[in-house]
């Protein structure tokens, strides 16, 4: 039988693909292997890289400090990643591959609510515990899943802090306009913000969504401008937050304040917009200004974490980094408490987890969601992100009302 060279190559390629998992990292008996499908390319690549940094930072700390003690034995930790290309379906397929072929012990979440949702289904089917720090949509936690835990405050509470802050200012914000991307996370945020505003005597004068792939949001901005709101809120991701902020200036929308979910906390926001980013509010899961006395085993305060992080990655630790490290910490404390790598025992330990970390309290409600940790509000003041709310954590006074465009 004669084979053409291309056919031989093809067969070899298939053989290599099939054989590859045999030499997977799971083979080492002295290592606990975590697996994570994470967005390293695609439209969530920026956030995906922040997630990976948070995981790696924890891993390197643990390995540098001797490893994890589990029932008298010490293990090194390793994390295996696959790029899910920011696609929900790929994320779940890669999670399956991590479990079935790479035999990872546990799953760390991908970036985003869409991907976390599909991976949570896989974790459930395979009965492998997952802790995620980057999917805040409650949709993930309302399915009765038993193996998925989220260290985040839920989506609906994202903008509560900004609303509370705006209501406490003088002059107080009385009317609110909300724009949101069409994805599940952003929609839950918008709904939660609208409910909170109405329940606290504020008037929601505008509430509309745009496609999450939008390249132009002018019509949303025009309609919003016509309602003349005191406070403009946006629930979305970095890319559309930039589009909205540019659109607000393009159409000369003058509100007392502007609040975003994802956006102001990433350096991209101020880098891309320069002065036009000033005085904008960003809701954050965490900032290095939060004050917690953390349990032993990792950095004991947000400040320590932030300083060490800065030294390694040469940028300020943002909340995506912190919540990702926190997801690892949940596993760390649960595994140590369980004294075992058995998925069921670790899951049970996660259910009962109650520990204070640099990131805040890690404790899950019956659905697996961390509803016990408050959000903070940051403001970009003169190009620098500072925490301004809650008042007890404020690093600087709130700048309110926001000065007109061109005077920021």
């Amino acid at each position: 039988m004669f084979l053409r060279p291309t056919a031989v190559l093809g067969v070899c390629a298939i053989a290599v693909t099939l054989l590859a998992p045999v030499q997977s990292v799971g083979a080492d008996p002295d290592t606990i292997v975590f697996g994570s499908p994470v967005s390293l390319t695609g439209n969530l690549a920026k956030e995906g890289h922040l997630t990976q940094e948070g995981y790696e930072f924890w891993k390197n700390y643990i390995n540098a400090h001797g490893g994890l003690k589990v029932g008298g034995k010490t293990y090194k930790v390793d994390i295996k990643y696959y790029d899910d290309e920011s696609k929900n379906d790929s994320s779940a397929q890669l999670a399956e591959r991590l479990i079935d072929q790479d035999h990872v012990n546990f799953l760390l979440g991908p970036y985003g609510s869409g991907t976390s949702f599909t991976v949570a289904q896989m974790a459930e089917r395979k009965k492998v515990p997952m802790v995620e720090g980057n999917g805040a949509a409650e949709k993930i936690f309302n399915q009765g899943f038993k193996y998925t835990f989220g260290v985040l405050s839920p989506a609906r509470r994202y903008l509560e802090g900004v609303l509370e802050m705006a209501k406490a200012q003088k002059p107080a914000a009385q009317t609110v306009a909300i724009t949101a991307a069409s994805d599940a996370f952003s929609q839950e945020v918008a709904q939660g913000a609208a409910n909170w505003a109405q329940a606290h005597g504020m008037k929601v004068v505008y509430n509309n969504k745009y496609p999450d792939t939008a390249t132009d949001v002018s019509s949303v901005i025009s309609a919003l401008k016509a309602t003349n709101p005191d406070l403009v809120l946006n629930a979305g991701h970095v890319q559309d937050a930039l589009l909205v902020q540019k659109g607000l200036k393009d159409q000369n929308v003058q509100a007392k304040g502007y609040g975003y979910t994802v956006g102001p906390d990433t350096p991209d926001f101020a880098n891309s917009l320069g002065k036009d980013a000033n005085d904008v509010f960003g809701a954050a899961q965490w900032s290095d200004a939060v004050k917690y006395h953390a349990a032993a085993g990792f950095y004991r305060s947000a400040k320590d974490y932030a300083e060490a992080f800065q030294a390694v990655y040469h940028h300020r630790a943002d909340y995506h980094n912190a919540e990702s490290s926190a997801a690892c910490l949940a596993f760390q404390y649960a595994i140590e408490k369980a004294g075992s790598l058995d998925p069921e025992k670790v899951r049970d330990a996660l259910v009962n987890l109650d520990v204070v970390t640099f990131y805040g309290i890690l404790k899950f409600d019956s659905r697996g969601l961390n509803v016990y940790k408050p959000m903070v509000v940051n403001q970009i003041q003169n190009g620098t992100l500072v925490t301004v709310w809650p008042a007890g954590l404020a690093e600087a006074k709130v700048i309110w009302p926001t000065p007109p465009w061109g005077k920021r």
Binding site: L40, T41, G42, N43, L44, A45, K46, G48, H49, S86, S182, N208, K209, Y210, P211, T213, A214, T215, D216, V217, S218, S219, V220, S222, A223, K225, A226, V238, Q239, L242, L243, K246, K249, D250, Q251, N252, T266, P267, D268, N271, S272, L273, G274, K275, D276, W405
Partner: protein, 298 residues
Amino acid sequence: MELWAQDLVNGILAGGILALVAVGFSLVWGIMNIINLAHGAFVMLGAYVTYELFTALHLDPFLSLPISFIALFVLGYAIQRWLINWVVRAPILTTFLLTFGLSLLIVNIAQIIWTGDRRGVETWYAGANFSLGAVTVPWVKLLTLIAALAITGILQLWLTRSKTGRAIRATSMDIGAAQLAGVRVSQIYAIVFGLGAGLAGVAGTLIALSSSISPTMGDPFLISAFAVCVLGGLGSVQGALIGGLTYGIIQQTVAARLEVTIGTQQISGSGLEDAIAFIVLLLVLIVRPTGILGRATA
């Protein structure tokens, strides 16, 4: 009423840029019968050319227009000459796959070079605007529209008046006859593909002014270019212009106002932009399959 006027203006401003993205895509498709799936990636590269020149040399984005055109023209010319030319007579699926692969390659290389960070060019005049009655017009978008119109105008003149332009149109009408008349088809194809890429590059430059820059920024523009081409008719500059403006206006006016209730979920306004635009697209395909300005082909 005022809001309608504002949305109409928004639609025209958005449509101009969509037309410019689509015109290069349309030429390549209409003349060479190649659906270039790397067109969005070319748009992205144009935006990065502008970004690099702006950050390194403080060159104003409008002044970088010719540079991104030339850079992308050269790239497009080379890709056609030494890559696509090998399969240009193959079934359309082959070129489809090739350009899809190219797109992935370019986007991933961009990801390595520039990472996934979103970047922007923040000019001193960013966000400056003026009012016409109740309508606010942002200068950047107006200048972008003017630039888009000027570029398509120059292109149209070049195609109808210059020798190369005529050779291009001759090739699109009848390859055999053009060859008999002494036109070197492979050369013409490379010029057309280069032109398509160059036009995508200038579109990227202009998009960089009002949007953020990232390796995946071109994807949605590829989809809109597809719709614009079918709406306006393939292979003609005027078709892309009419298609772009129609698409932009529909998105910003009609689509933004609709409310639909499906089950318990109310889907309102802008969430439906794309759906409405594509419904119009379907209607055009049914009523006038060659597009608004398209010509019937054999």
